[in-house]
């Protein structure tokens, strides 16, 4: 009986956390509307307040249409979400072990380049080549992610510094790589890579629909969902996963319980790097088909917000990434339809994270009685 009540309580909690999320999104949209109105300098100068307000309507409508309004929009949302999910998991798994992985960008670059190399160096049938290239991406990212892990375990160098430095190093290294004969496209002088062979590209998700070449989503999304499941399974069903959580919650307790915290430190960064590497592989093999200097974009940083928003839980991280991806896809439509710049979605994301992180604030604004939702777990702080 008690068990049943507990489960019921859990469910109720989940519902209210859902409600909280919706209210947070709504609050963010309202603040965003004010930002749109007050930045409409020309309309405001002419005293055309209605004109300014109508911009808000068309902008938000484009946001919805552009993210879920059509098959194409949904495909765009999936496409934007794919690397965000993978990098989100990367940051989340490090958070679970109490580490702060700011290095997803660098790991993504490393993974993307290894995957790319396999992608055009091999010329096998896709069924062999694609999995190999994806695996190579994961390994590339994992090796690069291992560096801050090993440095931290052996010397105590803080991962916030080392990952930032490694991001910068990776950026320059890729710039150099893309100018070598091995990678650079034959007829180009700018840093841009050869194309992955058609066989080596990730198959498109909606490939079965003939003649819809505008549906860009690729099976990287399946890989991402697989990564979420793997992450969940790892956390909940394996001993090492348990050790991760214990180490993240209380490093001293984990040490006294006899866990090899140095091994955990390295492992968590290896896993984090692996997931980010997968994201790089998905972008290079799926979305672009080649690598440029900035194929990682801001994804590594967005992923931090995603992991924070999803409280580092597998499902939470996935939904947060899809939300961010939808905003990204909708934002492009918004920029085209109304003259509201896509940068608004960065503001919206920030506001959503802020509102969700402060349930107390949402409760004060909306006068709800939703249950308290604990803030997500982040990293251990600056010490050891």
């Amino acid at each position: 009986m008690k068990n049943l009540f507990n489960k019921l309580g859990e469910r109720l909690n989940r519902v209210s956390s859902m409600k909280l999320t919706l209210l947070a999104v709504l609050s963010a949209l309202i603040v965003g509307a004010f930002i749109i109105i007050f930045s409409d300098v020309d309309n405001l100068k002419n005293g055309d307040i209605l004109g300014a307000i109508s911009t808000v309507g068309s902008a938000y409508w484009a946001l919805v249409v552009g993210s879920f309004g059509s098959l194409r929009a949904i495909s765009n949302t999936i496409n934007s979400s794919t690397p965000l999910i993978l990098c989100g998991v990367s940051v989340a798994i490090a958070f679970k072990a109490g580490l702060f992985n700011i290095g997803a960008t660098g790991q993504m670059l490393a993974g993307g380049m290894t995957a790319l190399w396999v992608g055009f160096a091999m010329d096998g049938p896709g069924i062999i080549q694609v999995p190999l290239a994806i695996l190579a991406g994961a390994i590339g990212g994992a090796v690069f992610g291992a560096i801050p892990g090993v440095l931290k375990a052996r010397t105590g160098a803080h991962e916030v510094i080392t990952t930032i430095m490694l991001n910068n190093m990776a950026a320059f290294f890729i710039l150099w790589l893309l100018k070598t004969d091995l990678f650079q496209r034959e007829d180009r002088t700018d840093p841009i890579s050869k194309l992955v062979s058609a066989q080596g590209r990730l198959p498109r998700l909606f490939g079965f629909l003939d003649g819809r070449s505008d549906l860009v989503a690729h099976i990287g999304f399946i890989v991402a969902i697989g990564a979420v499941v793997a992450y969940w399974w790892f956390l909940k069903k394996t001993t090492t996963g348990f050790e991760f959580r214990a180490y993240g919650l209380n490093a001293d307790a984990a040490t006294y319980a006899g866990m090899h915290v140095k091994r955990l430190t390295v492992l968590s960064m290896v896993f984090a790097g692996g997931f980010a590497g997968l994201a790089g592989a998905a972008e290079v093999l799926g979305t672009y088909g080649y690598a440029s200097t900035n194929f990682a974009g801001n994804i590594g940083f967005d992923a931090i917000a995603i992991a924070l928003l999803g409280q580092s839980s597998p499902l939470g991280t996935m939904f947060a990434a899809i939300l961010f991806g939808a905003l990204q896809a909708g934002g492009r439509q918004m920029q085209t339809n109304s003259d509201v710049p896509i940068d608004l979605i960065i503001v919206l994301r920030a506001l959503i994270v802020m509102f969700i992180a402060a349930p107390l604030l949402i409760k004060t604004i909306w006068r709800t009685k939703s249950a308290h939702v604990s803030a997500g777990q982040t990293f251990r702080g600056w010490g050891s």
Binding site: T155, A157, M165, L351, V353
Partner: protein, 413 residues
């Protein structure tokens, strides 16, 4: 009786390991100078002042440097420099950088004074950002939002500065920094939100808002985005000293202000009651609270001051350099400042040192493109980050943060 065993109890394992690392690193640097830097014949000209160029023959200099570093390394390994280790390390690193430059410029000439001046200039936002970080973290609030505060400051500095002149712009930047830090304070202190989460949210908020506004407003109204930047002010007498005069005393107000900020912060932090209390609430707020310190109020105040300093640092971009705002103009300098906080071990002077190192890195990067070394420029551009990585891993190691940083204060606990 072995000497090492006698002296062992004085040093912890960690310290001994670090001392050994220093020794090995010096030897390593010596090897690089001996085999790598001596590989390019020719003279390297370092232009110091208009009328005088210091000419260093690359190869002999590299060999001399190798002998010096090797000797220092051997002494360090054999008996250690004790409390002089850091000084020796700093001097050796400096000599090594000169060796590197001599190697890179051999056969050409190079404006050394200009590079030093650039180093100091570019360290300004990192120094001020790091001080903002220290002020927060010493009182127990993790400030990841430095980047956002710098960016907000830069934007406000550009817009207000365009409308009402540069000094007003500086004031506007400070106000913006305070506003953003007030957001951090309210969320972290009042609503007890995880400080890392709210810090990151503020970074995104600031990035999004400034990009949005610059895209939507500033592109159509360029008159809001043109500031008259400060010109360097030469301090009388001091600026006449060769080399140093140009590097340190012919700078914009920002450099002088940031040095004053470092001095003031150090003074307040270690010599005043305010500083003692700040450090106390960063280590063990419950104890300080029991003794009658108003933890909440002090934290609010420190976070505000930190925001003002960071906002000032942001104003450096439009008002100290280019005279305009561009999207994401800070490009991660706030995170470098964060690294400087940890690198400098939460001490203002340490942070200034770290900021100068990063400033030097940026200055070298700028000059590097003009030098022909035979090595792909990308690797040279990477060098500063590799050096930072090695320094952090080898010598700084585990740093001790303020103990309560990141924890919300609850008086009832």
């Amino acid at each position: 009786m072995n000497l090492a065993i006698e002296t062992a109890p004085l040093l912890s394992n960690e310290q001994r390991k670090r001392a050994r690392n220093v020794g090995f690193s010096l030897i390593f640097l010596a090897l690089i100078s001996a085999f790598f830097f001596s590989g390019r014949p020719g003279d390297a000209g370092f232009k110091l002042v208009d009328s005088f160029t210091l000419v260093l023959p690359s190869q002999p200099f590299a060999r001399a440097l190798a002998v010096l570093l090797g000797a220092l390394g051997a002494v360090q390994l054999y008996r250690g420099f004790g409390k002089w280790t850091n000084v020796v390390l700093a001097i050796s690193t400096g000599a090594f950088v000169v060796g590197f430059l001599a190697w890179a410029t051999s056969g050409g000439s190079f404006n050394l004074t200009g590079m030093l001046q650039d180093t100091v200039t570019r360290s300004v936002p990192i120094t001020l950002g790091a001080i903002a970080g220290i002020l927060c973290e010493r009182s127990g609030i993790i400030n990841i939002a430095i980047e956002g505060q710098l960016l907000g400051g830069a934007f406000a500095g550009a817009v207000v500065g365009s409308l009402y002149g540069p000094w007003a712009g500086v004031l506007g930047a400070i106000v913006m920094g305070v506003a953003l830090s007030a957001l951090l304070a309210v969320f972290a202190i009042r609503f007890r939100v995880d400080q890392v989460i709210v810090g990151f949210a503020i970074n995104f908020f600031s990035l999004g808002l400034t990009s949005f506004l610059s895209q939507r407003v500033l592109t159509e109204h360029p008159e809001y985005n043109i500031v008259k930047p400060f010109t360097p002010y030469a301090i009388p007498l001091l600026s006449d000293i060769p080399v140093i005069g140009v590097a340190l005393f012919t700078q914009t107000y920002f450099v002088y202000i940031s040095v004053i900020a470092v001095v003031l912060t150090t003074w307040f932090m270690y010599r005043t009651r305010w500083g003692l209390r700040t450090r106390a609430i960063g280590e063990y707020p419950q104890a300080a609270g029991t003794l009658g310190v108003d933890v909440i109020r002090l934290r609010y105040r420190n976070v505000w001051i930190a925001g003002a300093v960071a906002g000032l640092g942001g104003a450096w971009w439009p008002i100290g350099t280019v005279g305009r705002f561009d999207q994401n103009i800070t490009s991660g300098r706030g995170f470098i400042a964060l690294a400087a906080v940890i690198f400098g071990r939460w001490h203002p002077v340490g942070a200034l040192t770290a900021a100068l190192v990063f400033g030097l890195a940026e200055a070298i990067q700028l000059k590097m493109s003009n030098l022909d070394t035979g090595i792909p420029s990308e690797f040279l551009l990477m060098a500063p980050y590799i050096v930072t990585l090695i320094v952090v891993a080898g010598f700084v190691g585990r740093s001790r943060a303020p103990k309560a940083a990141g924890q919300a204060y609850d008086a009832s606990k």
